[in-house]
């Protein structure tokens, strides 16, 4: 019964995605409707996740499809921190279609928990899966901010007459927010991955493709931090690096459907 909450969440996220496109054409009412779509959709999905956790009495997002659903919730949660403010509405244009597509993929991939139990403890799953997914959600948001940076920077260079028609955050703001998001996300990924590695060694399991690509992803985001904080990188170069890092997140989340918990 609780699974029915999936549909309002999907519909509201979908409404938000469409609303943000409408806001791009004519700023105003469509943007406000989209913002409410995100808020209400997030509430519906939160209720869905709570119901799933209660039903399974633990952490039911260990499978690829279900972890994707949790990932969407984390991305939307991170987006909600800024996304409802008017200048950041454009972020919704990137984030919400991704959220809708991933929710549909998660559903098609088998949905959440079918009562199967994992051989891992709830605590391990919460720390490992939870932290890694939270970090990936942060990287997704940082990539969306960087994408918006690249788009706005291009507009400022090409100098269209309509450049001031739309409220967009300043380049400096987008740049600094992307950095702050990554500063929070890299430690989360480090901790989540470290917990997984300890378990891997303890159980004598072998490395798999998911671990390898996740390690590369971690390396890229660490490089991003290093180059920005120590190498003086900022602006467009940093934004492109963030987008490259996000491409690896996409590979980890979508191109490698197998998980260690399947």
């Amino acid at each position: 019964m609780a699974e029915l909450l999936f549909w309002p969440a999907l519909l509201l996220y979908g409404e938000a995605a469409v609303g943000y496109f409408g806001d791009l054409r004519r700023p105003g009412r469509a943007g406000r409707a989209a913002t409410w779509g995100v808020r209400l959709g997030w509430l519906a999905q939160t209720a869905l996740l709570v119901a799933q956790a209660t039903r399974d009495d633990g952490f039911p997002w260990g499978t690829w499809a279900s972890s994707l659903s949790l990932f969407v919730w984390l991305v939307v949660s991170a987006y909600l921190i800024w996304g409802c403010r008017r200048p950041y509405r454009l972020l919704g244009l990137v984030v919400m279609p991704i959220a809708v597509a991933l929710l549909v993929v998660a559903r098609a991939g088998g949905g959440t928990g079918n009562g199967s139990t994992s051989r891992y403890s709830n605590l391990f799953l919460v720390v490992h899966v939870g932290l890694v997914l939270a970090a990936f959600a942060g990287f997704t948001l940082a990539a969306a901010l960087s994408g918006l940076y690249v788009w706005q920077e291009r507009r400022l260079r090409t100098r269209p007459a309509t450049i001031l028609r739309r409220q967009v955050p300043a380049l400096a703001t987008l740049d600094s927010l992307a950095l702050r998001t990554v500063v929070w996300s890299v430690p989360l990924l480090t901790l989540g991955a470290a917990v997984g590695l300890v378990r891997l060694v303890a159980d004598g399991d072998r490395l798999d493709a998911l671990i390898a690509v996740t390690a590369v992803t971690w390396g890229v985001w660490c490089a991003y931090l290093g180059l920005r904080l120590l190498g003086g990188w900022s602006g467009r170069r940093a934004a492109y690096l963030a987008l490259a890092g996000f491409a690896l997140v996409v590979v980890v989340r979508l191109a490698l459907p197998a998980t260690h918990f399947a």
């Binding site: 400022l156 100098r159 967009v168 300043a170 380049l171």
Partner: protein, 399 residues
């Protein structure tokens, strides 16, 4: 009480005429006080685009003549350029003025403060106080609910808005001025009003090293010299960029012929805008303001209608008050007649009888009251009020 407006604006009079009837603070206050003599209310609104006098008086024709005479005493030639509006039209005009819809640049922000000041300096009473308060409310609402005042309306404010698109807040940002033309001064003033600081004003006598040194540090360069050729070459900026460690630089070229090498716009971290770019942006934002003005007009019309309903209801308020007083008088008289019976009731029973009779009176009078107010808004209020007075025999002393 009638509302009368007499005035002239940029639509009707050239600046040579407008400046003759422009009023300073004290003059506006004195003029309003003079027109308000004899129990009237008056407000004088004077800006660089308009001088208007609002009078609330029982005799609208006399008030209008007096207002015309006062303005003509400042400059006789202004009389043919004066517009005269009354009641609903006068209020609607004020609402449009406060919303910036009658301004030279639609949605300009200063007018709201000027209307507020005129209200404060005027000799107001119930009518002018109400109409000015409601006009200010309409002006604020238009600014809050539309984007009419958000986009820049001049080249200098467009330059400042573009710098904000790059840096966010301009607080503490520094400006290098190359040349000190009028437009570049305006642009610099606009940036300073947003918190930026001028690091150097360079002219033809300024040493080249000082300019190069500032290029390493400043965030915005505004160029407006009379030099026949380029003042700043791309190669110079490339050198500066190496030392700037990736910090963005906004360059605004207001000169014709241009002072800044167009190739600078291709450099990483440099955002170059020339006078054509800025003018195109201003044209676009002004057309955006005009689009927003359509939405603003509907807000203003709704607010003006509310005022009109209130103003019109004033015609029937005395009749309604008389009717209610008469009904209350009858109720109390009938209760007094029944005192011999009511005396036997205890306090709670007596209160219940009081409440029931009051409720009957209220219910009976509710619909006539509403209908009279509606009729007042539809301009039949006076007829209805007369009919009520006649039907209920309301005495002359109650009028």
């Amino acid at each position: 009480m009638r509302l009368v407006l007499v005035g002239t604006s940029h639509h009707h009079a050239p600046v040579e005429l407008r400046e003759q009837v422009a009023l300073g603070r004290e003059e506006a206050q004195a003029l309003a006080a003079r027109l308000a003599e004899g129990g009237r209310e008056a407000v004088a609104l004077s800006t660089c685009n308009r001088t208007e006098v609002y009078v609330a008086a029982e005799d609208a024709e006399q008030a209008e003549q007096d207002a015309v005479a006062v303005l003509a005493s400042l400059e006789p030639d202004v009389e043919p350029a004066l517009y005269r509006l009354q009641d609903r039209a006068a209020a609607y005009h004020l609402f449009r003025v406060a919303a910036g819809l009658d301004s030279l640049v639609p949605g300009e922000g200063e007018i709201l403060g000027q209307v507020r000041l005129a209200h404060e300096l005027g000799t107001t009473g119930p009518l002018l106080d109400r109409v000015f308060r409601q006009a200010l409310h309409a002006g604020r609402k238009v600014r809050a609910q539309t984007a009419i005042g958000k986009s820049p309306a001049s080249v200098s404010s467009a330059a400042a808005a573009l710098a904000e698109q790059v840096f966010g807040s301009l607080e503490g940002r520094s400006i290098l001025l190359l040349g000190a033309g009028k437009v570049s001064e305006q642009a610099a003033r606009n940036l300073r009003s947003r918190g930026a600081e001028i690091a150097l004003v360079a002219n033809s006598r300024t040493e080249r090293e000082r300019i190069d040194e500032q290029l390493d540090k400043v965030d915005v360069v505004i160029a407006s010299t009379n030099a026949p050729g380029l003042v700043l070459e791309a190669a110079t900026v490339v050198d500066a960029l190496r030392r700037r460690r990736g910090r963005n630089l906004v360059l605004v070229d207001l000169a014709v012929p241009r002072d800044l090498d167009p190739a600078i716009g291709e450099l990483d971290g440099c955002y170059l805008y020339d006078i054509d770019d800025l003018e195109q942006i201003v044209v676009e934002t002004l057309s955006g303001r005009r689009r927003e003005a359509e939405r603003a007009e509907s807000i203003v019309a709704a607010e003006a209608e509310k005022f009109h309903e209130w103003h019109a209801s004033l015609d029937v308020v005395p009749a309604i008050a008389s009717l209610r007083a008469r009904a209350e008088e009858i109720r109390e008289a009938e209760l007094a007649k029944a005192e011999s019976l009511l005396g036997k009731l205890d306090d709670s029973q007596r209160r219940a009888v009081e409440a029931v009779t009051a409720q009957i009176v209220n219910k009976l009078l509710h619909l006539p009251t509403v209908r009279m107010k509606q009729a007042a808004a539809a301009a039949d209020g006076v007829l209805y009020a007369e009919a009520v007075r006649h039907l209920f025999g309301l005495g002359e002393e109650e009028r």
